[in-house]
Amino acid sequence: MAEFSTTHRENGEVNIIELNGYLDAHTAQHLEIAISDLIVKNKYKVVVNFERLKYISSAGLGVFMAFIETMRSNSGDIKLAAMQPSVYNIFDLLGFPLLYEIFPTETEAVNKFNQ
């Protein structure tokens, strides 16, 4: 069975969600809940750390599409960081770098919020 988990940390005003494992149509709901939890707490500045994410399908991409407007209309954003090349390739194939800022490291993504 596909395993997936998230962890949440804060770095100043920025909320970091770390992804771990396999993000597909079964596990996407787990990430939806993690991001919804931030919105409930009026936290709109989000960095998603992909370092330990091994796999993503379009259901996973859909989660970022579902929340980007809410974050940006509240002076926040979802910035993506530290993707494995195989995961980045899927984002790139669909043109997602047009809409999302993707950084090599979590630190760079966090710093962009603090600029």
């Binding site: 597909d24 399908s57 669909l94």
Partner: protein
């Protein structure tokens, strides 16, 4: 020598997203045994995941009492995956690819699975065989 000789492997699963990991492991295992390049395996696995997700969601509307078949056919030249379900028929060739800049600009959600499948595989065929269900054939050249 018969170059068309195929290795055929099959699994049947309940129509639940819970089984996507098992399906990916099955397809990845067969492709790895065939010595296919890892880059190509990743593409096949994602395409199969997307196609199975569509069956679970759209053909069977998340009814986990239903089942579908994943059949892998490997020849020297091609890695084919045949998916057979008996749910609602859906011909992917009737659906156009989204214009991605517009899609992203409008913050749309969903509908990217088929688009990905077409990008990742060399051929996507669909047949609705009366009484024998929907057959979706995904083909990737491996030689």
């Amino acid at each position: 020598m018969n170059t068309a000789a195929k290795n055929i492997f099959e699994m049947k699963v309940k129509s639940s997203t819970e089984n996507l990991g098992t399906i990916r492991d099955f397809v990845e295992g067969k492709a790895t045994q065939s010595g296919i390049d890892k880059n190509i395996i990743d593409k096949i696995v994602l395409a199969v995941d997307e196609a199975c997700t569509n069956i679970i969601k759209h053909a069977y509307n998340y009814d986990a009492s239903t089942e579908f078949i994943i059949r892998v056919l490997i020849s020297k030249e091609e890695f084919k995956v045949l998916l057979i379900d008996h749910g609602k028929s859906f011909d992917p060739n009737q659906v156009a690819d989204p214009d991605m800049p517009t899609y992203l600009k409008q913050h749309r959600v969903g509908g990217l699975g088929l688009h990905l499948i077409r990008h990742l595989m060399d051929k996507v065929e669909y047949h609705n065989l009366e009484g024998k269900g929907n057959h979706l054939i995904l083909t990737k050249k491996i030689a």
